[in-house]
Symmetry: D2
């Protein structure tokens, strides 16, 4: 029961890096929403391997098929199943690793939990699993566009190691992010970040960083105290992604250095609306959106697969050494940008639909 996410716009993910394919079933999509398969494919292409010179050169077309829930381009209100076939599994590339636990991967813990493990490519722990999330979110995005047009959800690479981008969350555009292969929002950092990734890859090493995401024009009132607070659901969404180690919203960890006087967001009326004059809250107060930009950051660790020797053990309990093989990302962040947006979109759509239940007398 752990591969489901969301309460009302509820998704069920399936699939390993080997086997027939990966995908998702969406239960709870409202009916009569225009749905474009091309828009789904576009998002899958943004997370696809082989899309640029700084991501893994693996070629996987990741072509989506809608199996159910849609007729003549409109949602039916019934479950929408989307399937992406596995086409480039290459189990041979992983053969020698089947008996060796890759450091900081999930091989050992899957064995510890299930007593069994898909022997190649990470199985369910592969980043390939995120295909179902991105496909579902591409549906959610179209639900938002139809029911609540104008909401923007944009993520970018905030930092690669110590290279820290300067980005204005209120102004950054999706086009600006998408215009560069590292998907950062700071033109001055594009080349340094690309060079850094290439440099560590050349050493067989890897890097991590931080992705920042803004949700603009979300209405106030989203998020459900006390456990399904908006930031709580966002935190869970982000920490459920492979390779993530941290989440912060608004002022985050740095906000703990301030006193309350400098941290509080004063309210002022503006154009007849309640606004705050700054946004250390990150758009959420008491677990509920306040109409300001929702702004959060997610920490991604350096890729665990390295092309240099590492100490490790075998599944039968012997010390050994491992040098990675295969084709991997030396930095997952460029491909993780659409995935962070996807999870944010799923959370927001779910809470927008949940809010309908509370509507005043119609």
């Amino acid at each position: 029961m752990s591969s489901s996410f969301g309460q009302v716009f509820r998704i069920h993910s399936f699939g390993e890096s080997h086997g027939g394919g990966v995908g998702v079933v969406i239960d709870g999509c409202p009916p009569r929403i225009p749905l474009s398969l091309a828009a789904i494919q576009r998002e899958l292409d943004r997370r696809r391997p082989g899309q640029s010179e700084i991501v893994t050169p693996r070629i996987e077309p990741d072509t989506a098929e809608i199996l159910s829930g849609v007729h003549d381009g409109l949602t039916l209100g019934t479950p929408i199943a989307i399937l992406v076939r596995n086409t480039n599994a290459l189990p041979a590339a992983y053969d020698t690793m089947a008996e060796i636990y890759r450091p900081s991967h999930a091989d050992y813990t899957y064995d510890a939990k299930y007593g069994i493990r898909a022997p190649s490519g990470g199985g369910r722990a592969s980043a390939r699993e995120t295909i179902g999330r991105v496909a579902a979110a591409a549906v959610a995005r179209q639900v938002l566009d139809f029911l609540h047009p104008g909401i923007e959800i944009i993520a970018w690479v905030k930092s690669i190691q110590d290279l820290n981008a300067t980005v204005d969350p209120a102004a950054v555009t999706a086009a600006a992010i998408e215009s560069n292969i590292v998907r950062t929002g700071d033109p001055a950092l594009i080349e340094p970040m690309i060079e850094r990734i290439k440099a560590v890859r050349a050493e067989g090493n890897s890097v991590g960083g931080v992705i920042e995401c803004v949700i603009r024009h979300a209405p106030p009132g989203l998020g459900e105290p006390v456990f399904d607070k908006l930031e709580a659901d966002l935190a869970k969404a982000m920490l459920s992604l492979p390779a993530t180690k941290g989440f912060e919203i608004g002022s985050g960890f740095a906000g703990t250095l301030l006193t309350g006087r400098d941290h509080n967001d004063p309210f002022r009326m503006a154009d007849g609306r309640v606004r705050t004059t700054c946004n250390r809250s990150g758009g959420v107060q008491g677990g509920i959106s306040n109409g300001e930009d929702i702004l959060f950051r997610v920490a991604f660790k350096p890729t665990a697969t390295l092309m240099i020797p590492q100490l490790t053990v075998t599944s039968s309990g012997h010390n050994t050494e491992l040098t990675g093989k295969g084709r991997h990302d030396a930095c997952v962040l460029p491909r993780a940008v659409p995935i962070v947006e996807a999870m944010a979109t799923l959370v927001l759509t779910d809470h927008l639909l949940r809010q309908r239940i509370l509507a005043p007398k119609s």
Copy 2:
């Protein structure tokens, strides 16, 4: 449906700061577990106002009553309802605030969401709501002690503003934390932290900080990919707490500065077990515990209630100014320590019970 938490050890929280009381219903507690009401009360006393000179002087006895699910000191397997009466509501102290939105509080967002709001003391957004969580976790703690003795869950104040404690998560004891009223694990920081809190309080100001928490001796195998990963459920648990702005596990945000070579945790055999020689993973890999210490940190913002004038608006849409009244914590962290432990205990207990479903053929 937002006041429930957990999948198998599932809790349902209720109650506002005004009204008859606050409490919790636990559904899914296994039968025949010895249950001590005194142990529940002890945890409630740790979060209680008025317990020391650096927390709010409000006197609330917060006495727990078990309404159901227990007979002769043993759990029955049926829902355990626990009630704590409200005794010191003092609505008068909040009267003038009823029409004014307190900055960085949930007054405005509750109105935006529900179109109605409990007029005093924060209602459901009051920290008083956490009583149900702490009571439920005190039951969970006794479930752990009976079914999986030896698991330790200890939190402490890691920092107050820039005062940053040095604590060894592998060695720190609950007694050491509990021996000082600020609940830090670094003897050298006790007095400076206390002084800092007193100083900002004297100014009508407030401070925040970071709480760190370790779970020791948890077995490998806990956490359920892909959405209910252990760190994802911990992140949601922590970000569902009032005043939290961030969560990180293991190396966290700082880990993004390292390369993979320096970040990965090598595996080595030790005493016949698979171990890692360092723990930047924070005890979780691929969303599943690996048997090492589970270590995470939670950022708490400075208390929003200040005894100094702040700009704000009224609920009818006029700009105004507000100076806080009443009795409040200038720093929530000392009282938040048992609450962080409580949420960690709930997550761990739930996952330990969920793991039973996967047991090999019995």
Copy 3:
């Protein structure tokens, strides 16, 4: 996790016949609904023991207290907790039965499941557990009255043993049912039913029967294929009640004797609406309400507690004989009428609120 019911208007029930009390937490009640405690008490009084000469003479006032979720007579959108104290537990009356499994009661199966059992009064298996359901449904009823006025939910005793009432579901009134202590809808059967109950009680014996229930003026469109079909949720609701053995909707079991030609409900336009000219569907087609009266029946077995000797076994595994003691209903149906209405009200309210999620673009 088995004491929760409903998806959106979700209730969590707690309590045994012994202990501090029984009650319910409602999570998902929309905000700003006027809520009358007196209306809740009125429904509890309808299910209360001691209300007439044909039910158990036990005196339990069953006074409800609202602990949370309501302010100044309006719902807050937060969990509504309702508590009814136990006042007349009299464990002594059950003492000799503690070690003997009462035939066709839940004593043995609770021991088989939990390895422990509340020793008196049936514990969680007591009919007292239904108090939480009735209280929650009395809240739901007020939600319906506010959001969808005009929906009627009326149940009555259709049969006691072979005494079979003739009732027109389209015309029967709540007042007519409530005017007689056996709660049947057929004036000619009131006295015979009362006499039958008194006669079997005089013998220490018991009787069962059938309760019929109609939901009038429910809009078309309620019920969610494929698993949460309206009749599926009604069936679960009814079979979750103590002493129930069967459920049928519309033509039910008798409908299996007809051919399709005689069973189908032809559609005709009437007053601009799609109507059926008969209603063997019982108001539900494909799991979704069609706007006609929703009509179903529930079978209740004869009360298991008898004042005559019965063969049974002890909990330590010896054959023995038992003669019931205490004060019991010789026929549960009169008191079960409001409970059947309660469960129907919960199902309908939940589905009405769920339907809001599917609303066209607002």
Copy 4:
């Protein structure tokens, strides 16, 4: 969120009669269970059209593909997705019906609920939807065989109209049921039932009946009070099936004619176990299995599709007449037998796995 069933062994169904296919995702299947695709296909073949001269002659191979969750014939503990392609949709056959509401079908109610409807073959309301259930249950069956060998779940046609089979639930074998195309357990009724079906079909008419099902050798202790009682979950499971109108367990509706003295099941010790000397409880007491045979019956209405003219309306609100076309079952019961077994298997497997959570200290 209405296409999910089960709490721990949780299935998510998808698919319409048109579109890419139908299928299911199973989340919560324990790891390391040997899983045979052939066994899944065998069950799908039992529900398949075209299998005998008394069912619809439509030819649909209904070939299952396992997309995920299985490696080398063992379950991985990850979601198991199973897909059956649609191959014989023939939308043309339904064209003239697209604008006409078929009486006692779900056409009108789907429009009323969703404002849109798959235009051919019933869409999601097609019996084809049950493929996902049967496939999931065939997995569950293998879980039972591995974890709890010896549990038998056998259903049969108890009646077709007034033709009422005499079957001994304690002795009937799966082979006996499967040996005749009508799937009854009474040799004397095989030919009469077949003749009845052929006769009504020849008239363009249809018939319904009752399916009875026994679960033998289930352990005591299954079922979770108060809402997830075993009979409540069975009732929901059965009433969620297309064309069902009633459910009863044990003595059912007929039991309401008895007095308590004749209805109660006396306990007696036998071979060191607690047994009942009769079984009017139907194997469940207080919502929990008692170790006796679990016996229940399900009423199926006559097939709604008729080859004779019927009064109805168009979707644009005009009275009209409709004569069915296409290839349909004149009696669904022979094909519904494996579907009833499937739903019973899902309920039982879910509760067996849930019971693991309550295990005493290990």
